[in-house]
Every structure is written in C-alpha cells, then in structure tokens.
C-alpha cells in the first residue's frame, strides 16, 4: 500500500472515525484504524464492536492495499502536522511498519493484519429512508438529555425511534427517559419510515452520529434492520448495534388531562431556578414551586446552606398548588424551549407534569415531581 493524501482530508476522516476507538482495549486490533486504499481514495474504518464508522477520503493511490495501525497515535500525529501538507502513507512488503511522512516529519507505526479487523455487516435492512440532517439533529437534540445512564435499565440507555401516527399523519418519533423525566420529539415521517418497528439507538451512537451531522450536507440515509442501524452521512457511514430490549410503554405516563396550566416567561423562569438553586443540596437539588393566582414562588430550603426564594409573575388561574422538582431536570427542560414562554400542565403535587414549548408543537416533556 502506498498513497498520498491531503493532511486536511486525512485529519477530517480520522477525527470522525477515531472517537469510536476506546482508549483501553483488551483486543489490540480494536485500537487500530483500518486503512483500505483503492481507486481514488482511502477508506478509514474504526470500531468498538458495537459501533463502526467508515469514511472515504480522496487520495492519490500509488499502490492499492490495506493495513491497520493505532488510530489515536496516527490521529494525534496528523493533527500536529502543518496545514496544507500532503501526507504519504507507505506499507512496504516485508516491513511490519507503516511509514507516515509529511515534509521532514516521519512516523513509523506498528501494524496488524487487515484480515483480522472485525467487520460489522448490516443484516438485511428492513426499512430505508432519507432524512434531512437538520431534522435528525433536532430529534436528537430535543431528547438526548433525558437518556438514562443507569446500567440496570439498559433499555433506557438510548433514544427510542419509531413510527407513529399523530392525528392521522405519519410521524417519526424520538423518545428518551431516565424515569425522572421524559422527552419526546416528532418529525414528519420521511418516505420509507412508515411502519418501521421501534428501535433503541444507544447513547454512544447518538453522540457519534451527532458529531457526523455537524459536517453533513445532503440528506442522511438511514437503514434499519432487526439488530442494527446504519446512517450514511456525507462520506461517512456509521453502523451500530441497537439496544436489545423493549422500551417502556411511555404513552401511558404522558398526562392527557392535566388541568392546572401555568404559562411563564421561560428565560426569567430558568434564571430564577438557577438563582435559588445556589443553596440546593448536592443530592436532592429539590426546588419547590408554589403556584397561586398570577404568581409562582420558587423556594429552595437547605438546612445547611440557607433558604432562597424568588417570586415570578405568571399566567396561572387554577387553585393554589405546591410541587417540587429536581432543579437540574427543570433546567434541562427549560433549555429545550425555544419560545418566549414555557407552558407547564400540572395535575397534583404527586403526579407527572407535562411541559410544552408553545413555539414547537412537535416536542413535549414530562417531569416527575419530587416530594417537598
């Protein structure tokens, strides 16, 4: 294998694939990136056995071939090379090293045989569709904060993506929950997604995908099979295992008839929550909302640190209510709201509360109250 490639093209592809490589690996080849040179480009592939990212980069191929070499080392070296410099990669026949050179800088890297590199073929894809990168990014951004990190409930460690019908309109829906809060976002169903079975896309895949979407230009091609999902974003292809489990029946915990409606200036509310939380205890972070006509009072009472309260004007007409929330969870939700106002819909101090963004009818949030 011998090729020459622009430093920036190599760096871009490497930065996309290397982040999937775990820092510590018991299987040595998983620390490596697979380089496959053929035609007018080189393909870079990295995997952690759960996710595989492959990306094509244009290169001048003098001699086709393939090898694998430590991904992080190659990335760090290329990152430090001056911009605009061509990089040469050469693996000579008997040498068990990959020579990387740019200008006067040279690096000899150990290699492992490409035949040992695990591949992650996607099984017969059931549903394939195209979705604009902004739409996919929106589904992720609106929900990913609610993904659980709890190992025991592994089926919550991702975003549940599935096809639904809302008022007869087919929609592609993303839902995430950690039990304390739930986030839901809908997008108009792309052609081909209708009838797609629900899949749980793991958190790490979501993170990698979100990074790839930053550089996306055209539509993203999504292919879903029983156990895997594949996203083709520009020159990169991300293949991931799905979480094998069943997502809880979230529809039953979304309140349908909460009658106490609070409308409040979102920014003012978020800042007030932030202010009173300065005295909150590390563990509970509980903030109390006392609602009465045209007013909401926020209180954090921490025996060790003191008491903080703040009154806010609000649009509230129902009878008085006191309800507590985790201040961080409140903030996560207010961060999602794009409109001027946030709309809270309460039932009572012990039941789930619905939060809507009047500016975005296709997203909603559910918060579980804390006892105060």
């Amino acid at each position: 294998m011998r090729l020459s490639i622009e430093r920036s093209a190599l760096l871009k592809a490497l930065s996309h694939v290397q982040s999937v490589v775990e820092r510590r690996n018991t299987i040595p080849i998983l620390s490596n990136v697979l380089l496959t040179a053929a035609g007018d480009g080189v393909k870079l592939t990295a995997t952690d056995l759960d996710i595989e990212i492959a990306e094509m980069a244009p290169a001048q191929i003098d001699r086709a071939g393939a090898t694998t070499t430590p991904a992080h080392t190659l990335f760090e070296f290329v990152r430090r090379l001056p911009e605009g410099q061509p990089v040469r990669l050469e693996l000579s026949g008997e040498d068990s090293r990959l020579a990387v050179s740019a200008g006067k800088a040279r690096l000899q890297l150990p290699v492992l045989p490409p035949g040992d590199f695990p591949s992650m073929p996607i099984d017969a894809a059931g549903h394939t569709f195209l979705i604009p990168p902004t739409e996919l990014a929106r589904l992720i951004d609106k929900t990913k904060f609610a993904i659980s990190t709890e190992e025991t409930r592994y089926y919550l460690n991702g975003i549940f993506i599935h096809a639904v019908a809302v008022n007869g309109e087919p929609m592609l829906r993303a839902v995430a929950t950690d039990g304390h809060r739930l986030a839901l976002a809908d997008a108009t169903a792309p052609e081909g997604s209708v009838g797609m079975p629900g899949v749980i896309v793991p958190r790490k895949t979501i993170q990698e995908l979100r990074r790839l979407l930053e550089d996306a230009t055209g539509d993203v091609e999504v292919a879903v099979s029983a156990q895997k999902i594949r996203f083709a974003v520009a020159d990169a292809v991300l293949t991931s295992k799905l979480i094998d489990g069943s997502f809880p029946e979230y529809a039953r915990v979304i309140p349908k008839a909460n009658s106490r409606i609070l409308k409040v200036d979102n920014r003012g509310f978020a800042q007030a929550v932030d202010r009173v939380s300065t005295v909150s205890a590390e563990r509970s972070r509980s903030v109390k909302l006392a609602l009465e006509a045209e007013r909401v009072t926020l209180t954090v009472n921490n025996p060790d640190q003191g008491v903080a309260t703040e009154d806010l004007p609000a649009d509230y007409q129902s009878d008085a209510l006191e309800i507590g929330f985790n201040s961080k969870f409140l903030k996560d939700v207010t961060d999602q709201i794009e409109g001027v106002e946030a709309q809270f819909e309460f039932a009572d101090s012990g039941s789930p509360t619905l939060v809507r963004d009047p500016a975005d009818g296709q997203a909603l949030y559910v918060l579980m109250p804390l006892r105060v």
């Binding site: 659980s148 025991t152 950690d178 039990g179 809880p248 915990v253």
Partner: protein
C-alpha cells in the same frame, strides 16, 4: 503531665509512687493532654468469647472459639486461642488445625445482644453522644460534661472501664483522642483491657510511619491502589500529590489526606446506628451452578427484605457477597435508581451481579446479599415514568408481609423459595 489511676480515676499531677492513694491500685495512665481530650472509642475485648468464659468458668483458661460447625468460620477467638494464630473470619477447620484443643462454642447471639446492650446502657448513662458501630464497639463524645461528672473525660472513662468489669464481667479497651479515627486506632493499641491516648502533639508523628490501611475506609483494594502511587504509609500520603490520589481513588482521596493530617471532623452521631442490612448463608455442599446459587440468593433476599421491612428501612445499594471454596471473597455492589425494600428488586439486582461472576467452574461455599445507603421505608419503591411495575410489586410484598405477620412465616411462600426443601 497528668496521671490518672486506671482503677478509680483518681487524678495526680505527679506519679504517686507504686500505689494509688485513693484505691490502692497500681496501674496508671500518664499523658500531657489527658485532661483535654473528649472523643473516645470503646471496644469489648473478644466479646463473644469473654461472655462465654464469664458464664462457664471451666473455659476461663482454655482456648475458646465461638463459631458454628465444621463448615463455619470463627466468629470470635479468645486471647488464648489467638496465641495459637486463630483469627476471626478464619474457616473453622483451619482454626482447629492450629489449635485442636480449643473449646468450640456455638454462638448465642441473643445473649450477646443483651450483654452488648448493657454495656451500651452504661455508656449512655454518661453521655447521650454514643454512636454504636456494632454490638460490641461504640464512639462516645464526653465534651462539656466535666462539671456534671465532676471529672475529666479520661477519669470518667477509667471509671466506666472498671464498672463494666465489675457489673458485666468483661474487659473493654478504650482509646481517647480528639478525633474519631484516632480514638479508634488508640483503642486497638493496648488490647485487652487497654487504655490508650493519642494527643494532638504526637498525632502526626504517630501516624506518619503507619500503613495507609490504618485510615478508615482503606481496605486491601484501597491500599493496593495507593501503593501503586508509591503511597504505603500515612506520611507518604501527606506528601503525595492530591490530584494523583484523587485520580486514583476518587474524591474519597481528599478525605484520606485530611485524615493523614489527623484532621477528622466527623461528629459522633447517636442516630448513625444502622448502615446496612444483610443476610448470608454457608452451604452444606459447594455450589457452582447459577440456578442453585440463585435459589439460595433468593432466600437471602427474602430475609433482607423482611428485616428491612421490620426496621422500617430501605436502601439504595444492593451488595452481593460470594465466597469461593478457596476462600476468596468477592463483593459486588449496584446502586439502584431509588431505594428499595422489596425481595424482588433485591433479587433482580443481585442476580445480575451474580450472573456476571458465576462461570460454572468456580465453586462457592457462601452467598450473601446486603442493602446499604439506608433510607426510610416510606421513600422506597415509588416507581417512575419508566417503571410502573414496582408499585405493584410493593403492594404484593406488603400484602405477603401482612399475611406472614398474622399467620406465621410460612403462611405465604414463593415458588422459588420452595425449591430448596431444607434451607442450609
């Protein structure tokens, strides 16, 4: 220099010669800071064995081991048995190989609990600030009570030690210092029937050469992690880079560094009684298969759940304990998303931990499950947005508990619990 008679608590400015002028006793305690220290740790000496020796004088001079059967482990060895190398938690067959003439007495927990309460009552008569750590040891804070007792804490403690011997008939060892962990360290210096003082002036020099495992919370794993950083003694810990320590052992490292500088601000908390609830069983036959182990685990989970319910407690963390036939003990813990007191949830969490350990080849002799990070029962098992099953399970287990309370423990049993005809 203050000198205190160990027998009656009489105070002297200078050593009074060979015998105490007040009681005729000949044992004295001398320390420059003796009158200003208030934090004490009291530990009963070989408690279970001491009780048995008290109740059966023929045992007095013999090596005595408290423990169960041939398969069991030593729960307490008296000081005579310890001279042969017998230690607590040692397997019984090993203990008997070291000391074949030992008298093995099966434990009578009811009696020990009762005697332990008597000791505690004598402590509580002196100060409300008594923090029990277990049945036979506790911290005490005697600050501000000099006027009430008309004596310095050190004198009050010397009298307490004497009174426990006179009224209950066992010896205890006392450590007196200005911080909890130093008091605990001190009580161990001069066992049995000891009284040791670690003052402010000597604390740093005293700690410097000692192994880091002297510090609270540093077990074998922690000591190993610190050793990897070249930290073997407490003195090493003082000069180590706090960032490296924290990177290695987590935020707890900062606490350890504080301890290394003899700074321990933990107060004595009379309510910090219970830290965990657990149950374990040693099998009559070694087990290696997951289904067999699961059945035993389920029984342990039911026990812990019943104990938690009785104490009106629940816990956030479930710990699995396994002991293999080569006496390796492994513990694995998992923190739940909310506190629980349900056998089903204890089992669910501990079974997952068990499944990750069992390979079908390694044989085990003991399994146990524990619940820690305790919380009031009322906070447990609420369920959440993703869990609508738990409140239903909670209702079912509460109903079973009510039936058992009314009609006896066997009134309701689960299928899994019935699978073992005779529990070990």
């Amino acid at each position: 220099m203050s000198v205190i008679c160990r027998d009656c608590g009489e105070l002297y400015a200078e050593p009074p010669g060979f015998a105490c002028q007040a009681c005729g006793g000949g044992r004295f305690l001398a320390h420059p800071e003796a009158l200003s220290l208030t934090i004490a740790h009291l530990d009963c000496d070989a408690f279970y064995a001491a009780i048995e020796k008290r109740d059966d004088p023929t045992l007095a001079a013999r090596p005595v081991i408290i423990g169960g059967g041939n398969r069991g482990v030593v729960s307490t060895a008296c000081y005579v048995a310890r001279a042969y190398g017998v230690r607590s938690a040692m397997p019984m067959f090993k203990a008997l190989a070291l000391c074949p003439q030992a008298a093995v007495v099966p434990p009578n927990m009811g009696k020990y609990v009762e005697e332990g309460r008597k000791v505690r009552a004598l402590m509580q008569a002196l100060t409300p600030a008594v923090e029990p750590i277990s049945i036979d040891e506790a911290f005490m804070d005697l600050s501000g009570l000099e006027a009430l007792h008309k004596a310095a804490p050190v004198q009050t403690l010397a009298r307490l030690q004497r009174r426990i011997l006179d009224e209950i008939g066992i010896t205890v060892s006392i450590g007196l210092s200005f911080a909890k962990f130093l008091a605990k360290t001190a009580s161990d210096l001069d066992k049995p029937n000891g009284f040791s003082i670690i003052g402010r002036a000597e604390a740093l020099d005293f700690l410097a050469p000692r192994a880091v495992s002297t510090l609270p919370g540093v077990g074998p794993a922690g000591a190993k992690a610190l050793a990897a950083l070249g930290v073997a003694t407490i003195g090493d810990l003082r000069t180590a880079d706090p960032k490296q320590i924290v990177a290695r052992v987590g935020a707890w490292g900062l606490r350890l560094i504080e301890f290394a500088h003899a700074r321990d601000t933990r107060s004595i908390d009379p309510d910090a009684t219970r830290r965990s609830i657990s149950a374990e069983t040693t099998f009559s036959d070694d087990l290696r298969g997951l289904p067999d182990l699961e059945d035993r685990l389920w029984l342990a989970c039911e026990k812990v759940a019943a104990r938690a319910r009785a104490a009106n407690l629940s816990g956030w963390t479930v710990t699995l304990k396994l002991k293999s036939t080569d006496f390796r003990t492994i513990t694995r813990a998992r923190r739940l998303n909310e506190p629980t007191l349900l056998a089903a949830r204890l089992f669910e969490a501990s079974r997952a931990l068990l499944a990750a350990e069992v390979d079908g080849r390694c044989a085990y002799r003991l399994i146990g499950v524990g619940l820690s990070d305790l919380a009031p029962a009322a906070q447990a098992d609420q369920g959440d947005l993703a869990d609508r099953e738990t409140p239903r399970r909670a209702a079912a287990e509460a109903a079973m508990a009510r039936a058992r309370a009314k009609f006896g423990a066997d009134a309701v049993r689960t299928g899994r619990g019935l699978r073992i005809a005779k529990p070990d």
